[in-house]
């Protein structure tokens, strides 16, 4: 085993990751606050009114970043899950479960803001479009993951079962998306063309990007906070917790 691998495994142990996470949280929190302020300022105050959608389009500044994050977080969970199953590191499972509630929150927010956007623009809270449907299913996958982990008492088993489910889910999401799209073209239901994005002004694009980065920093900060809680809960009896955790 070479030196860098040893080093890596050192940080993969909960005891050494706990203080590292503690040092990273303020950094990501500050980043989230600054980016959020800049993104909101650009999105709500500076960006021009859209020619077709008026001011209603401003929902895009939370809707699109929330949707991106919900999908991205599931992929990150699958990454940790694969790592946990192949190297049997305890931290991976904790990271997977730390990310899930935030991912579920973003999936829910994406649906919620999507409905609020859809009502004034298409005249319906919900249409059976491929993206909306897959997003809803992604939300169900998050709920399933959280429910499965909550139902299993032994943390090691909960981690492994959750990891398997996350990997099965990540393989299935594209298949589900494809099948719903296929279904949609056959039925020619609500003809909503979301691909035809209004030619976006640079300020809009920049605003959206800043909001996405803000959500990203927020996710990292919150996930680190949660993983610290999970580490403490699981290792409450160990020596290092007694010595070091009570700052």
């Amino acid at each position: 085993m070479n030196h860098s691998l040893v080093n890596w495994f050192k940080f993969a142990s909960p005891a050494s990751f706990y203080p590292l996470a503690g040092r990273l949280i303020p950094f990501f929190t500050a980043a989230a606050v600054l980016l959020l302020a800049a993104g909101l300022w650009l999105g709500l105050l500076v960006a021009p009114t859209d020619a077709q959608q008026g001011e209603g389009y401003r929902i895009i500044f939370v809707h699109v970043p929330a949707s991106w994050m919900s999908m991205f977080i599931y992929c990150v969970m699958a990454f940790w899950a694969a790592l946990g199953l192949s190297f049997n590191t305890r931290l991976s499972g904790m990271m997977t479960s730390a990310l899930a509630p935030t991912g579920a929150l973003f999936a829910f927010l994406s649906l919620w803001t999507g409905a609020l956007w859809g009502k004034p623009m298409w005249g319906a809270w919900w249409v059976w479009d491929a993206r909306l449907t897959s997003q809803l299913i992604l939300f169900f996958l998050y709920l399933g993951f959280i429910a499965l982990q909550a139902a299993i008492d032994d943390p090691r088993r909960a981690d492994k079962a959750g990891a398997i489910l996350a990997l099965v889910g990540v393989v299935n999401v594209p298949i589900i998306y494809f099948s719903v799209q296929w279904w949609n073209t056959l039925h020619q239901g609500a003809s909503v063309s979301m691909t035809k994005a209004p030619s976006m002004a640079h300020t809009m694009l920049l605003g959206m990007l800043l909001m996405a980065l803000a959500f990203w920093a927020y996710t990292i900060a919150v996930a680190l906070m949660r993983v610290r809680c999970i580490i403490l809960e699981r290792e409450l009896t160990s020596e290092w917790v007694k010595k070091n955790a009570m700052e």
């Binding site: 299913i137 499965l148 298949i175 099948s179």
Partner: protein, 225 residues
């Protein structure tokens, strides 16, 4: 080759023999399927045009629910009496034994549904051609339900409230099979031909037959720890 397959065949034989000693369970699942299918016209109305339209979806969703009913008992009894442990300790491939159990589950829970579906299709006034396509889609699709369901059954084995949890985990994963299966008949009626849907369903079957027993085995080993 036969030596390699013999544990698989023994596993199928054992589960079929056990099912034969529990005839009521098979009949209950089948009866559940028939009742759910028959409830739909009562809830929606007897308009033949409407019924013809919803028939594939109705039969497919009922098949999905009927499969779910049997899945909870796929591994649970073997887990409870310790025989699953013995299978996990077999010098033969545990995955093959699990695959055998899944096949047996389909033969007991899926195949009867496929066989009775054309009769129920008649109640929905489907044409002969639609009936044939529907039956083929169920024949290709119900094994997928057993295969993916086995992963869920293995993940929730011995867990509190496993029944409801199993539905929550598995039903979203059933969506592609439902769409391609029920869609085949509608595509045919729309003049597109059922081939596209049926070949996608077949592809889904091949992929899940390849991966699902293996994933279920990994999940079972986790559950046995």
């Amino acid at each position: 080759m036969s030596r390699f397959l013999s544990p698989f065949i023994q596993s199928v034989r054992r589960d079929l023999l056990l099912a034969a000693r529990h005839k009521t369970e098979i009949v209950t699942a089948l009866f559940f399927f028939v009742i759910v299918v028959n409830l739909l016209p009562l809830g929606i109305g007897p308009d033949p045009d409407l019924l013809r339209k919803i028939a594939p979806g109705a039969l497919w969703i009922s098949a999905l629910l009927a499969t779910l009913l049997g899945l909870q008992r796929l591994f649970a009894p073997d887990h409870a009496d310790g025989t699953l442990e013995q299978m996990a300790l077999s010098p033969q491939s545990f995955t093959l034994l699990v695959a055998g159990k899944i096949l047996a589950h389909w033969l007991v829970a899926g195949l009867p549904v496929v066989l009775i579906a054309p009769v129920l299709g008649l109640q929905f006034d489907l044409s002969g051609r639609s009936l044939l396509i529907l039956t083929v889609s169920l024949l290709l699709g119900t094994p997928i339900l057993s295969l993916i369901g086995a992963v869920g059954a293995a993940l929730t084995l011995g867990v509190r409230g496993s029944g409801a949890l199993l539905s929550l985990l598995i039903l979203p994963l059933y969506i592609p099979a439902l769409i391609f299966g029920a869609g085949a008949v509608e595509a045919d009626l729309a003049g597109l031909g059922p081939d596209g849907h049926l070949s996608l369903l077949a592809a889904l079957l091949v992929v899940s037959a390849f991966f699902a027993p293996w994933v279920a085995t990994v999940a079972l080993r986790v559950a046995l720890e």
